[in-house]
Symmetry: D5
Subunit: 96 residues, 10 copies
C-alpha cells in the first residue's frame, strides 16, 4: 500500500555538531535499509529546502507509523502523510 510523505527537517542550532552528525548518519543507514527492503520506494530531495518527498510501500498504516516514528531525525521533522493508490491511467507495474 502506497503513501506519499513530505518530511521537513529542522535541526536545532544548539544541537552539538557531533550529535547532529551521528543522528544524520544513522538516518541515512536507516533509510537505505528500508529502501533495500522495498518499503521506502522513493526518496527525492526538494530543491533549495532541507526536505524530501518520499513514497512508502507498506503493509498498513501501523507499519508506516512505526517506520516514520523510528526515523533518527523524527523529533526534528514535520511530517505530512497522504494515502495513495494506483492511478487508472498508470501503465507501470510498480506504481501499485
Amino acid at each position: 500500500m502506497l503513501f506519499h510523505v513530505r518530511m521537513d527537517v529542522n535541526i536545532p542550532r544548539d544541537l552539538p555538531q557531533a550529535e547532529a552528525g551521528e543522528i544524520i548518519a544513522r538516518e541515512k543507514a536507516y533509510s537505505q535499509e528500508l529502501q533495500r527492503s522495498g518499503k521506502w520506494r522513493h526518496i527525492w530531495r526538494i530543491a533549495g529546502e532541507y526536505a524530501n518527498y518520499s513514497i512508502f510501500d507498506v503493509k498498513d498504516n501501523e507499519e508506516l507509523h512505526a517506520i516514520l516514528t523510528g526515523l533518527p531525525l523524527f523529533k526534528f521533522m514535520t511530517i505530512k502523510v497522504t494515502p495513495l493508490l494506483r492511478h487508472p491511467s498508470s501503465i507501470r507495474d510498480d506504481d501499485t
Copy 2:
C-alpha cells in the same frame, strides 16, 4: 531532471457529459504515451480526491511546461510544480 507535480481536477458541472468523457479519454491516452516515453515517470491517485501526485523526468522547465499545458484537462486543473533532485540517501538508480 525530476519534478514533483500535484494536479487537482475540477470538471465544471455544466460541461456536457459526452464532452467530458471525450476529454478524459484523450487525457488518459496522452498520459500513457508520456509514461511510455519515460517522461511521466510516476502517477498516483490521492485517496478520496480527484487529484494525483506525479513525477516527471524531463529535459528542462520548458519541456515540463509544454507537457502540462498540453494536458487535455489542463484548463480544469490546478497545478503545483516542485523541482526535485536525487536525495543523498537514495540507493535507487532511477531516483535520479
Copy 3:
C-alpha cells in the same frame, strides 16, 4: 485499517430539488449499507455545518478510495483523508 475522513457537502443551488432529494436518499442508503458491513465504522454530524467526520475501516487505500468516489454526493463534496492507527493508550478492542 482505519481512516479519518472529513466530508463537506455543497449542493449547488440550481440542482433541481427532486434530483437533490433522490441523490441524498441514495447517499443515506449507501452509507447505511457500508455501516452495516462494518467498513464505515462511525459517522458524526459537525454542529452547525453540512459536514461530517467519519471513521472507515477498510482493507487498504484502494478500497477507501472506491467507497468515497462511489458516494452519490461525491461530486458535491470536499474530502480530506487522514490515515489512523491504534493509539498506544487505547483500551478499546475496536479502536484498531
Copy 4:
C-alpha cells in the same frame, strides 16, 4: 454529548527525559481511566505525527474543558475542539 478533539503534542527538547517520561506515564493512566469511564470514547494515533484524534462523550462543555485542561501533557499540546452530534444516516446506537 459528543466532541471531536485533535491534540498535537510538542514536548520541548530541554525537558529532562525523566520528567517527560513521568508525564507521559501519567497521561496514559489518565487517558485510560477516562476511557474506562466511557467519557473518552475513542482515541486514534494520526499516522506519522505525534498527534491524535479523539471522541469525547461528556455531560457538557464544562466537563470537556476540565478533562482536557487536566491532561498531564496539556501545557505541551495544541488542542482543537469540534462539537458533534448524531448523524441522520448513522445506524450505530453508540454514535450518539
Copy 5:
C-alpha cells in the same frame, strides 16, 4: 450550555428580491423568537460585514444544530461554532 457562533451571510445575486426579502423577514422572526426563549442569548453585527457573532445557550449540541440548520438563511451562510464555558474570572451570573 454556551456556544459562540460566527455567521457570514452571502445571498446570491440572482435570488429574486422578493424571495430574498421574504427569507430575511422569516430569519428575523425566527431569531427573535429564539432570543425571547433565551436560547439565542446574544447577537451582534460585525462592523462593515454582513455577518454576526452570536451566543447560544442550549441544552446540547443537537439542539444547537437544529436551531442553526433551521435558520431561513442557513443555505446562504458559512457557520463556525466554538463551545464556551464559564470563565473562572467571570463575575456575571448569566455568563454561565
Copy 6:
C-alpha cells in the same frame, strides 16, 4: 460601544511559577474590576484552550486599547479585536 475580543494566552515555560501565579492573580482582579464597572461586559473560556472570547463596552478605541494593554498578561497574549454594533434583529436592551 461594543467590541469582540479574542485573547490567546501563552505563558512561557521558564517564567518562575511564583511570578506566573502573581500575574494571573492580578489579571483576575483587573478583569473583575472592569467587569464590575460594566466595561468588560462578558468573558467566556473557549473549551479546551487557554483562551477567551470577551465583549467590551467602552467609550472609544482609545479606552479599549488602554484596557487591553493594561492587562497583566498582555505581553503573553495574542489579541484580536473586532468592532461590533447592535444587530437589527436583536431584542435585548443590553446588546447595544
Copy 7:
C-alpha cells in the same frame, strides 16, 4: 474615532455595463460627500488592485457600519475593518 478599512471590489462580469457605470458614479459621489464631511478621512488606491485602504473618522461603530453598508458598491465588496487610535509617537494633530 478612527478606523482602518480595506475594501476589495469585485464587480460581476455579467452586470450590464450601464448599470455598473451608474453604480460606480454613485459610489464616487457618495465617497466624496463623506470626504467633504470629514468622516472619510483618507482613501488610497492599492497599486495593481481594484482595492483601497481608507481611514474613517466617525462617532462610533454604528456610524461606520451605516457608512460602509451604504456604499453603492457594498454588495460587490469584501471589507475588513481595524480599529485605530492615536499612536504615542504621532506628532500630527489630525492623526487622532
Copy 8:
C-alpha cells in the same frame, strides 16, 4: 510616492529592560523626526496590538527601505509594505 506599511513589534522577553527602553526612546525620536520632515505621513496604533499602520511619502523604494531598516526596532519587527497611489475619488490634496 505613498506606501502603506504595517509594523508588528515583538520585543524578546530576555532583552534587558534598560536596553529595551533605550531602543524604544530612540524609535520615538527617529519616527518623530521623519514625521516632521513629512516622509512619515501618518502613524496609527492598531487597537489591542503592539502594531501600527503607517503611511510613508518618499522619493522611491530605496528611500522607504532605508527608513524602515533604520528603525531602531527593525530587528524586532515584522514589516509588510504595500504601494499606494492617489484614488480617483479622493478630494484631498494631500492624499497624493
Copy 9:
C-alpha cells in the same frame, strides 16, 4: 524604480473564443510595447501555471498602476505587487 509583480490569469470558460483570442493578442502587443520601452523589464512564465512573474521599472506607483490596470487581461487577473530595490550584493548595473 523596480517592482516585482505576479499575475495569475483566469479566463472565464464562457468567454467566446474569438473574444478571448482577440484580448490575448492585444495583451501580447501591449506587453511587447512596454518591454521595448524598458518599463516592463522582465517577464517569465511560471512552469505549469497560467501565470507570470514580471519586473517593472517605472517612474512611480502611479505609472505602475496605470500600466497594470491597462492590461487587456486585467479583469481576468489576480495581481500582487512587491516593491524592490537594488540589493547591496548586486553587481549588475541593470538590477537598479
Copy 10:
C-alpha cells in the same frame, strides 16, 4: 534554465556579532562570484524586509540545489523555489 527564488533571512539574536558579520561577508562574496559566472542572474532586495527575490540560470535542479545549500546564510534562510521558462510574449534575448 531559469528559477525564481525567494530567500527570507532570519539571523538568530544570540549569534555573536563577529560571527554574523563574517557569514554575511562570505555570503556577499559567494553571491557576487555566482553573479559574475552568470548563474545568479538577478538579485533584488524586497522593500522593508530582510529578503530577496533572485533569478538563477543553472544547468539543472541539482546545480540550483548545490548553489542554494552552499549559501553561507543557508541555515538561517527560508527558501522557496519556482521553476520559470521563457514567456511567449517576451522580447528579451536574456529572458530565456
